[in-house]
């Protein structure tokens, strides 16, 4: 069996199981910063049962839990949804719920694994995402995974008595393929520079 498709350098993606994972997903929501980085709808607290119902009703999404390779902990989730199969497009959402695992490359690694799945198995043409202007860490992460800036939705979010922008990003299969080639050649090049 070859399940390396779902594995990155730091994480593996495993199918999100609402029965097993709803409790954990609901618990992450107690961190209001996490909710505000993830979604523009009002931060609220949901019972695990409601979380489970939500996933049961939205099962056309391709939802994964992100599991750290080093200790097998479930640290976040990532999912593709909103498919347009004729155009080959979808939207991605990601959240690293465990605070200790943020800003350390786990999310970027999960996104890379997901894009690999999206482009080499689902044959998508492009993947879309939205990110909020106050989430600079995420913007940098998405750029590393291959996403390109495609525009700014001005004053889209009204929170903290302030209107914030939403940033739109997208990655085409061709962008992603180019990045794979560059990453392959960049390893010997950097060694040469160091030498």
């Amino acid at each position: 069996m070859n399940d390396k498709l779902y594995e990155g350098k730091l994480i593996r993606l495993i199918p999100l199981d609402p029965e097993r994972d709803s409790e954990k997903i609901a618990a992450w929501g107690k961190d209001s910063e996490y909710q505000r980085l993830l979604d523009i709808s009002p931060a609220a607290l949901f019972d695990p049962k409601l979380v489970k119902n939500w996933y049961d009703q939205n099962n056309s999404d391709h939802s994964f839990m992100i599991q750290a390779l080093e200790d097998d902990r479930m640290i976040g989730f990532i999912e593709l949804g909103g498919f347009d199969w004729a155009a080959g497009t979808a939207w991605v959402g990601i959240g690293v719920g465990e605070r200790d695992y943020r800003g350390k490359g786990y999310g970027t690694d999960a996104m890379k694994a997901l894009l690999h799945y999206a482009f080499t198995e689902l044959n998508l043409h492009r993947v879309n995402l939205n990110v909020f202007e106050f989430n600079l860490r995420a913007i940098r992460s998405y750029e590393k995974a291959g996403f390109k800036y495609e525009g700014t939705e001005r004053e889209r979010i009204y929170k903290e008595d302030h209107r914030w922008d939403i940033i739109d990003m997208g990655v085409l299969k061709s962008d992603w393929e180019l990045l794979q080639q560059e990453e392959q050649v960049s390893i010997p090049t950097s060694l040469e520079v160091n030498a």
Binding site: I40, S41, P42, D84, W85, A86, A87, G88, T89, H125, R126, N128, E150, G151, T152, E153, R154, E155, R156, I157, Y158, R163, D168, G170, L172
Partner: protein, 196 residues
């Protein structure tokens, strides 16, 4: 002054009026329009699928019921004043009250009606959006294969904020998809200009 503004009709213009959408009467016409892929995508956004009149009627009934119950969506049929035939549609599919924003959809059944009535319809739609729904921001989605439509929304001051490269597939090729937005402050500034 305030009373006079409240008395101004939100629905009746010079040539067209915004009326209720009637799934019973309007579905037959809409099912013909839905055979145009550009209309279909604008209305339903997703991959094309053949729709019978009963299917379309059911879809409309469900959409209107949902919009009415959740207070998140508003739909209007555009008709020439004092005539029963529908010539187009306006809709605000997801009114986001928290952030005071909504998408605006407008579609006409044929090019002649677009040429004759789109401008006035747009004025009514934007007045309703900013002065009745009290939105801060109105968003319109346009695609690379809708040049007339893009020309119209740019006339009204909508700014192209996002260009989603090759996000739509139609007529055998990819097109870019654009997100256009107009803020209330920008719309107000434009009120002193004649848009034609």
């Amino acid at each position: 002054m305030e009373n006079a503004m409240i008395g101004k009709s939100l629905f009746v213009g010079q040539q067209v009026e915004l009326t209720s959408l009637d799934p019973e009467k309007d579905s037959a016409v809409l099912s013909i329009w839905a055979r145009d892929p550009i209309f279909y995508r604008r209305m339903f956004r997703r991959t094309l699928k053949p729709l019978t009149v009963p299917e379309l009627k059911k879809k409309l009934q469900e959409t209107l019921k949902d919009a009415n119950e959740k207070h998140e969506g508003i739909y209007f049929a555009i008709r020439k004043i004092d005539t029963p035939e529908i010539i187009g549609l306006i809709w605000f599919p997801w009114i986001d009250g928290q952030h005071q924003t909504s998408y605006l959809g407008i579609a006409f059944g044929n090019d002649e009606d677009f040429d004759a009535y789109a401008l006035e319809t747009m004025k009514l739609a934007l007045y309703y959006a900013f002065m009745e729904l009290s939105l801060h921001r109105v968003v319109i989605i346009a695609r690379g294969n809708e040049p007339k439509w893009i020309e119209l929304i740019e006339k009204f001051g909508f700014l192209r904020e996002v260009q989603r490269r090759e996000n739509v597939f139609s007529q055998g090729r990819y097109f870019d998809e654009y997100l256009y937005a107009l803020l209330k402050s920008e719309w107000k500034q434009k009120q002193n200009e004649v848009i034609e």
